[in-house]
């Protein structure tokens, strides 16, 4: 078990000297407990305390890097079993499998397609991460040669034969491809290759016990960059194995299990493979290997990965812009609010509850509520006016009247000046929206 802040605090000098850059020893201890600080930042910690604390601060699962340079892929490094407990780190890598028996042109085509498959989601670009060359005809070195020329993605070399593996590794030089895989029958040779080429190594065990033993042996041999394959290909077994490995690593800190896993998508047809892929992505795979290549099948996998690996600690936001409640028309009111999802959905629910057709203009306040955003100067006359201007609400309504949350009534004058809209101050609480529209709104806009 990880040490608590209080356990750590007991080992610190308790002088609150602030030399670590943090005001108090307790605050420093909390940061240490969360892995947001390192013990050497405290110049006064005793050796004894350092020894006591360091053992416990090692991460439960190693982060393994495949490839080099900008396209290198980091996997693993998980600290929790459930994403809500913190977040899942290092999104799993999606590897596209390419069989070496393919004709050269087809292989080239497939690799190029994989490298250029990208999707724009939430304003960011997401794509695939690895080219997995599957040695189905003994030509892995040649395929590796082609891939190093064509691929912008790191490689995973799949062969049980140490000889062809060596040939491929020689082609890759110091490119750190993932070696897949060392099993019981080729273990020593593969270990030697991983050492010689400083490459990460996948370990394959026919069951969990064998996997554990091999991983332990690899650790003893001094290999620290491991990826684990439990060989489970059947979904029900796979789920149980994946869970056991993850728990052994994170809850029990069993070092041979403290590495990312690799999983292979299975299924009778392309659609069934989506199911397998989603299961692997949700259930702890560090690498997901697939032969899916079409955009309509990769899009859901990449989206699922994006969703599962989204940091849940960040405030939930809705996109800024115009939202419709009911069926608003050119005479419907325009409500202003922030993009904190709880704020927006409260407004939406209360407005719908009042059977009011309305436009809602949502201002990007980095996911904070009206008053918080206003307090921090993220919800100001300028930011609101800018959103009103850019979202195009003006074209949707006849008269330029905006309803401002009552809590920020102070902004009304400034907002009128900044936006050129007439501003009506609404209720302070969203719950007051139905009553406000029933009793006050018509009278308040009569003057405009």
């Amino acid at each position: 078990m990880a040490l608590t802040a209080m356990d750590i605090y007991k080992q610190l000098p308790k002088t609150n000297c602030g030399d670590c850059g943090i005001p108090t020893c307790l605050a420093f201890a909390m940061k240490l407990a969360q892995g947001q600080a390192s013990l050497d930042e405290c110049p006064h910690v005793t050796e004894e305390a350092a020894a006591a604390l360091e053992g416990s601060s090692a991460p439960p699962m190693a982060t393994v890097t495949i490839g080099i340079g900008d396209q290198a892929l980091d996997i693993g490094g998980q600290t929790v079993l459930f994403r809500h407990e913190e977040t899942f780190h290092n999104p799993c890598g999606i590897a596209v499998q390419v069989n070496t028996s393919l004709p050269e042109e087809e292989m080239r085509e497939r690799i190029t397609t994989a490298c250029s498959t990208e999707f724009d989601r939430v304003g960011m670009i997401f794509g695939l991460d690895l080219i997995a060359l599957n040695d189905d005809d003994g030509s892995l070195p040649q395929a590796a040669q082609l891939a190093t020329e064509v691929s912008t993605l790191p490689l995973m070399l799949m062969s049980d034969n140490p000889g062809t593996m060596r040939g491929a590794l020689e082609v890759c030089g110091d490119g750190r491809p993932l070696i897949y895989a060392a099993g019981a029958d080729n273990f020593d040779e593969m270990i030697a290759l991983a050492k010689e080429f400083s490459s990460p190594l996948a370990i394959r065990g026919q069951d969990l016990d064998e996997l554990y033993e091999l991983s332990e042996k690899a650790l003893d041999a001094g290999i620290e960059d491991l990826v684990l394959d439990s060989c489970a290909r059947e979904p029900a077994t796979l789920l149980q194995y994946q869970t056991i490995i993850q728990r052994a690593a994170i809850n029990q800190k069993i070092k041979p299990m403290g590495f990312p896993t690799i999983g292979f998508i299975t299924g009778d047809d392309q659609v069934a493979k989506i199911i397998s892929g989603c299961e692997l992505i949700a259930k702890y795979a560090g690498i997901v290997v697939t032969d899916l290549i079409t955009r309509d099948t990769l899009l859901p996998l990449i989206t699922a990965r994006l969703n599962i690996y989204t940091d849940p600690q960040k405030p939930i936001q809705v996109e800024s812009g115009i939202y419709e409640i009911g069926e608003p028309d050119a005479s419907s009111p325009v409500l202003i609010t922030t993009n904190f999802s709880l704020t927006y959905y409260t407004v939406e629910a209360d407005t719908s509850a009042g059977n009011i057709d309305a436009w809602v203009v949502v201002v990007d306040t980095e996911g904070t509520s009206v008053l918080t955003a206003w307090a921090a100067e993220d919800f100001t006359a300028e930011t609101i006016a800018k959103t009103i201007d850019e979202c195009g609400i003006e074209e949707k309504v006849d008269s330029k009247i905006a309803v401002l949350p009552g809590g920020v009534a102070v902004l009304s004058g400034e907002l009128e000046d900044a936006s050129g809209w007439n501003v009506v101050v609404g209720p302070r609480e969203s719950a007051g929206i139905p009553a406000f529209f029933k009793t006050e709104y018509a009278q308040r806009i009569a003057q405009y």
């Binding site: 608590t4 802040a5 209080m6 605090y9 308790k14 609150n16 005001p23 108090t24 020893c25 307790l26 605050a27 909390m30 849940p312 600690q313 405030p315 709880l342 008053l371 918080t372 206003w374 307090a375 921090a376 100067e377 401002l404 009552g406 809590g407 009534a409 102070v410 009304s412 004058g413 501003v423 009506v424 101050v425 302070r428 609480e429 719950a431 007051g432 139905p434 009553a435 029933k438 009793t439 006050e440 308040r444 003057q447």
Partner: protein, 633 residues
Amino acid sequence: MDSLTVTFEDYGIEAPAEAGESILEIAERAGVGIASYCGGQGTCQQCQVVVTSGEVQPKDEARWQQEIAEGGTKVLACQSLVSEDIAVKIPIRSRAGDFTVRGIEPLTGKLVDLGRFGPLTPLTRQFALSLAHPTRDDTISDLQRLRRALLDEDAELEPITIDLAVLRELPQALRENDFEVAVAVSDNGPTRKIAAVRPPAAADSSLGIAIDVGTSTVAVELVDLDSGQIVGGAIRRNGQIAYGEDVISRIVWTQQGPDRLQRMHQAIIDTLNELLSYLYEEHNVESKQVIAASVAGNATMINFLLRIDASPIRRTPHTPPATEMPVVTAEQLRLDIHPQAAVCVCHPAVSGFVGGDITAGVVATGMHKADELSLLIDVGTNGEIVVGNKDWLMCASCSAGPAFEGVGVEAAMPATAGAVTRFRYDGDEDAVEYESVAGQSPRGICGSGLVEMIASLAEIEVIDRTGNINSDFPSERICERNDELGFTLFWPDETARDEPIIIYQHDIENLLRSKAAVLAGITVLLNKLDLATTDVEQMYLAGAFGAGLDVDKAVAIGLLPDIPRERLEVVGNSALAGAYLTLMSRQARQQAQETVSAMTYLDLSSDTDFMDEFIASNFIPHTDLSRFPSVDM
């Protein structure tokens, strides 16, 4: 310019005014609270008043509206400029609060026990000295002579220095009084300082004041510095309320015009001077007898008191301009005590949102010296929480809102005459059972009464666990206003204001939110240290609730965690107690400094656990009922 008079009929106040001023401005100056969220822009519609005689002029034709109301014309106070004498009535809805000064009982008990701090060493000490006249054998200087006499009185005064201004007056002061003098020594730092040398009569009474500048309520106590005895105390709504209910609104208000920081500053000085003049009259004291003041308050309040721009507190990461403040003289602040008296902020702030009022509470409760795990909750306009013991202290602030202080709850008021402190309604009886301050007919309900009211209504299911009023509840007390449900607590003929006292749905929501923030703050703060509420061995509840709070009810609604009642203590105004202690004791002042540097601040505003706990706590008592085993619902 013409001098006009505006009569505020409800308060019997005739306020002087100049043509062209708005009713809102005149009211603010006169201490008549009119609600205004928008700072007088004519947009929030809160400041509706009824002009009963005379006519007013519109400030801005575009925003102008008036309608005939009972007894006159209903207008917006901020949009109505005076041009002749007028009379105004302020409907209850538009009132920002009651600004009357009221006396309070002196603090007593453990919190103000000076015994634990050694001998009395007040912020300013008065010595009646009879100095030996200089002779040929005794030729030491005037200053040495004075020092010798002082150190004879108390050797602990060393090191001691003198101000140049006082030194300049010294030879004459000694000789005019034939070497019989009253000497004031101020004691607010590493060295003592001779602050005044005056005629011997001045030593007769040396008084000080302890001040708690709360966001909503300001409290002061007049203290005899020689004995430590509390002469009397008073409270009043902070006049700054006219500029915003919470610190952020007030900071924003000060940012909107060049003279506004000064006006904000003046508002608190005016509030304090009103409190002082009440005390002077009540206890037959003159202002010059008061020679020291110790102040506790949150960071924003202290900055405004010293007229320092507090706007950095508003912005992430909410750093205050200063936590430790220089000592100033009363003259500099125009505070109505002895002009040379030291005004000292003895309790530094920890952060922008955990202020000296909280460190004062820590010193007063003594939790920083205790072995057992203690927790201090101060429910004011914000909820602040400190947890810890002699080894460590951790604090946080949760934006509880001022509901329990009576702001944002129409039926609420501070714990002064006519405030309902106890409340019980079992649904069958015609009338509610209640107790009120001074036994008067109800004017409103104070913090403890609000807690009991919520508990009572929940018990008989007038409200459900989410606080929703049950429209089907078979009672004539269920009422409606603008589609909003309400529950009549007192009928018009039962109250002191000829109007019913009604609790509305939004009032209940505000109260539940406040209590949820407090409970969530406690839970999350403890969770960060892997502690549970059951680990807390001593819990102090300070702030808006009178000592009469029924802690069982506070637990029943989930304001306080369910821990054995003997561990729970309601301590009243711990900030004021802390200010009193530092007024009286050097050791307390030192501890206040030490406490602050040992305190770890946790920012809850961006904490997702807090949001989660907040929702879980926004329920009566909490969605995890197993955490409230003693609550039978």
